[in-house]
Point group: C2
Chain length 464, copies 2
């Protein structure tokens, strides 16, 4: 009689499972870095796309389509046989059981792991005033960018009608745009709003003169672009003012309502004063707060998250007592590293190096060394700033560098090609090829919110 | 003492005012046709864009971005000095007072006219079952196309998770797609769904085999493409079936629910039977009904709208008793002309000719002569059908002709260029560059509807 080997002896050992939470720079670069590893990679994210955040403001202002900056994550990883992509919002991580739980609509699923990389990023923060969000939306997702696009272009549309009807107070509020937060995102938005009003839309209206639009950039800090060298800060402020942006520093937002924003500043006499600015369209680019998963993890390992909700990680990016868990990107706090793409990308690669060492039985725990490749911010057409160590660039050359670097990081040849074309159209020509806004964005969204507030059960479909 | 001429004698005569309602083919082509006329043109539309409807299905299936097929109306007319574009939903037309009333959010405005061209088009119709719309959305607007895109790509995402969790019944319902209505739109959608499942997404998933998706095309009529020659009808049906589409004719939809659709057909024995097909994603491309403005006008002139809600117009496209009002396109009924782009475009040009004659004091009332330039419909990559008089084309040559004709009608050089690139990517390559769907579309929309139904006052923002 031939002895049959029992199934347990012949089953091949299951491969180690690496679970990645998030499809931003940290999550996607981690997955790609594992492409030759003998592991099963499962990437769980709450959107279906990898978002190239630095160019979100170009979707919001009509230059690019969402497809150009948000490729499908599973399409990017389609040829990577060891990678599975699952859509789900991670709501639970159990460090003891080594499982991740996620929800997709009403269903939930649980994914066990041997190694975990958490790269869930950060969302917009209104500093405890979430009620500001309805009227001063943030810009951290495609949803946000499309919503803002609708509000920006919609504001000019409504101003045209208001001007035709002689409703001048409405025209002023509709043609005043306020950007809160003078970091790179705020500066870029303010610059693009100027371009829109002074160049792109200059011939499109008959009753309003779009060049008369007021663009206000606010920040509680005493300078714009807090993370840049003071000389670049002052050059940027000067550029913005030359473009016509009203830059108000030391200005703190105390209230936001549907038709305006209230700001507290210090007058020339040193006394504080509060002012309400009538402005329908407001963009909040002022604060970020880490994914709630940071707190969820912090509670389990007994540490405190910082003011931005980020979880402190060890020098090697792992959680205390859990060398199998790495946290990278905007949700992690280490040596005050900034929440920029390079930190997430390099953190992801470091984590993967560590995982590969662990799998090979080599010693782990190497410190994460961040290599600062510099920072850039664009102001407007032909104007940007860049700094790498002590090298500082401004103007046209910095702008070309900015374009080149961002073009390289866009995923997909087709997207790179059409992005180049869109930039040509927008920056050399006057066009904005992605201005399309949906009815829901102009008519429906505010009506929807209002209806929900008033308890009206009608659907927005009835308006179509 | 010099006699001062009184202001009334020196004020130049105000130019005649032409108001156009609608920014589709009829409205936009009418505005453009008036570019040299000595009139003031005001175009009022409820969207900010001119929608190229024939390519909507390509936005819904991820080939094109909305910007490529929906340029900003005011951008198209920016250089036409006599044209003003106003955003507003027209809710009233007073034929006696010769005014048009429109709403933009909560404000309304009234526009007087000397000549009026009403080209407000048609919306989707569910034949009296508007409740079907929530689960079988139509495809007549950018909102619709983006919603459908979210549902289509989202269905595969949810199927992947369901398959990973062993929820096979869910997988089947999620991987079954039903298109109701076998006109050109339905046929094109069915063809693209096959392409998506068999080509584009074939490598993107690990737990589901997208090639196993079921695509069902239903119509109560006994043939597909009712307006085409029978030989083309049977060739199309054969092509679709060869691609794997389940074409069911003589099938009437009796109910639609969130997870399925109920269909009544006749069995082989001649007896009717009803069947519920589990299918989460359903597209309604089956009926249109004219803008409510048709009824509003019909009531004022004492005529009846037809079954599709269209208002019968005189031979010269005017309303009885109102030679200053022309109605063109999908909302008008004359000699059973079909609701296609060429009818709207030629109707618009005829109306403008008539208006120019009236302004020059020449006799008006010339009959509208429709010149049938033929019809085309695409089935899938490399396959289409076309007919012009007795000339009939099928296959690759018809497909090239289809591409060429549609490319010519796309407005804007940049959009034409990027559309060509997108077609190259999608039809020669396997890519879909515009697959990005928003969280609101996947997670939020159904949850939002459900919440509203259940009276839950939470906002969708809390899910982000």
């Amino acid at each position: 009689m031939t002895a049959q080997p029992s199934p347990t002896t012949v089953r091949p050992a299951a491969r180690p499972r690496v679970v990645i939470v998030g499809s931003g720079f940290g999550g996607l670069f981690a997955a790609r870095a594992l492409r030759r590893a003998d592991v099963d990679v499962t990437l769980i994210a709450k959107t279906t796309h990898h978002l190239f955040q630095p160019l979100l403001y170009q979707v919001a202002t009509g230059i690019l389509s969402q497809g150009e900056i948000a490729p499908s994550t599973r399409e990017v990883l389609a040829r990577q046989q060891n990678a599975t992509v699952l859509l789900g919002e991670v709501t639970g991580i159990d460090l003891e059981a080594r499982t991740v739980t996620a929800h997709a609509l009403e269903e939930s699923f649980t994914q066990p792991y041997d190694h975990l990389i958490v790269a869930a990023g950060a969302a917009q923060s209104w500093f405890g005033h979430d009620e500001f969000a309805e009227f001063a939306p943030g810009m951290k997702s495609i949803d946000d960018a499309l919503e803002l696009r609708g509000r920006i272009f919609g504001a000019f549309e409504l101003a045209e009608v208001a001007a035709a009807e002689g409703r001048h107070a409405d025209v002023e509020a509709l043609m005043t745009f306020v950007v809160v937060g003078a970091g790179p995102t705020g500066v870029e938005m303010a610059g693009q709003l100027v371009e829109l009003s002074k160049r792109t839309l200059a011939h499109d209206f008959r009753h309003i003169t779009t060049k008369d639009a007021r663009i206000i950039l606010l920040d509680a800090a005493p300078a714009v672009l807090g993370s840049f060298h003071p000389s670049l800060q002052s050059k940027t402020k000067a550029s913005l003012e030359k473009l016509g942006v009203d830059v108000r520093l030391g200005a703190m937002v105390t209230d936001v309502d549907e038709l305006g924003i209230t700001v507290k500043s210090t007058g020339r006499d040193g006394d504080p004063f509060e002012e309400r600015i009538p402005a329908v369209t407001k963009v909040w680019a002022a604060g970020v707060s880490a994914s709630p998963l940071a707190k969820l993890l912090a509670d389990q390992v007994g540490v405190e998250v910082d003011r931005a909700g980020r979880i402190p990680v060890q020098d090697d990016l792992t959680l205390p007592g859990h060398p199998e868990v790495h946290v990278v990107g905007d949700m992690a706090s280490l040596h005050n590293l900034p929440g920029v793409a390079q930190v997430a990308i390099q953190g992801a690669r470091h984590s993967v190096d560590e995982i590969e060492k662990a799998l090979a039985g080599k010693p782990t725990g190497a410190k994460f060394e961040y290599f600062d490749k510099g920072s850039m911010a664009t102001i407007s057409r032909f104007r940007a700033i860049a700094q790498i160590k002590s090298i500082r660039l401004t103007g046209f050359i910095a702008w070309l560098a900015w374009l080149a670097v961002h073009l390289v990081y866009i995923i997909g040849f087709k997207s790179r090609l059409t992005t180049l074309i869109s930039w040509f159209v927008s920056f050399i020509g006057r066009g904005r090829s992605e201005r399309t806004i949906t009815q829901q964005q102009v008519f429906g969204r505010l009506a929807l919110e209002r209806a929900r507030r008033e308890g009206d059960q009608g659907t927005s479909a009835s308006r179509s």
